[in-house]
Symmetry: C2
Subunit: 133 residues, 2 copies
C-alpha cells in the first residue's frame, strides 16, 4: 500500500492543470483554499513535491529563489521576465539536441551528462509596453 488517494492532492493537481502561468506553492495554496478552506500549506508543499517525483507535474527553478510548478510535462522551455517575474512558455523546438551537442564537444569529460536545465530571461511584452509610458 504505497500511495493512497487524497482529495487534497487531487484538488491541487486539478488546480494546476487550469493554469498556464506556473504558480508557486504559495499561489497554489491561496487558490486551493477557496474550495478547500482548511487545507494546510505543508500539505500543498508535500503534494507538489510528490507529484513532481511521480513525474505528473514539473518543478521549475528559474533563479528567483522560489519553486514554480507546471502541469504541462511536455518538453518545452520557459522565459522569465526580469521586471515582473512572470514565467511564460516558449514554443521553440530545435533545442532538443543541446545535451547531445555538449556531450559531443566534451570528449575529455569523464562524467555522464543526463540532461540539462535551460531558461531564458528578458523583458516580457506587458513590461515592454509599460516602459513606453
Amino acid at each position: 500500500m504505497a500511495l493512497k488517494y487524497s482529495r487534497q492532492r487531487q484538488v491541487i493537481k486539478d488546480f494546476l492543470m487550469t493554469r498556464k502561468d506556473h504558480p508557486t506553492a504559495d499561489v497554489v495554496y491561496m487558490n486551493v483554499r477557496h474550495e478547500y478552506p482548511n487545507i494546510s500549506l505543508g500539505t500543498v508543499y508535500r503534494n507538489l513535491s510528490l507529484l513532481a517525483d511521480l513525474g505528473e507535474i514539473k518543478r521549475l527553478r528559474v533563479g528567483d529563489g522560489v519553486d514554480h510548478f507546471d502541469a504541462d510535462t511536455s518538453d518545452h522551455y520557459h522565459f522569465v521576465c526580469t521586471e515582473c517575474g512572470s514565467v511564460i512558455d516558449l514554443m521553440s523546438d530545435g533545442l532538443e539536441r543541446i545535451t547531445e551537442t555538449v556531450e559531443a564537444a566534451n570528449t575529455g569529460f569523464d562524467g555522464e551528462i543526463i540532461g540539462h536545465v535551460t531558461y531564458f530571461y528578458g523583458v516580457c511584452g506587458d513590461c515592454r509596453k509599460k516602459t513606453l509610458s
Copy 2:
C-alpha cells in the same frame, strides 16, 4: 565617492580566484576566516553580491537552493553532479547561439529575450567510480 577599497573584499576575491570548484558563500566564509579570523558572514554575502553586480565574478544558480560563485567570468557552461552536488566547468562551445535560435523560433513571442541560463546535470566521474564498488 561610490566604491571604497576594502581589505575584506580583496581577500574574498583573491580566494575565489584560487578555486575552480565554484564555492558557496559559506565555503568562502570558512576559508577566508583562516587569514581573516573575525570577518563577518554578512560581509562575505555583501561583497559576493557586490562583485557579482560589478561583473567581476559570476553568481551560479544550479537548482540546489544555494548560490555558487565563480571568478571565471568567461562564457562557459557548468555540470552539476546529482550525487555529490559538485559543480564542474564544461569546455563545450557551439552553444553560444542558443538564445538566437530561440528568438528565431519564437516569432509570435512579444517579449525581448536578453539571455539564457543553462546548466547540465548527471553523475560526475568520481561518483561513477564509487558506484562500481
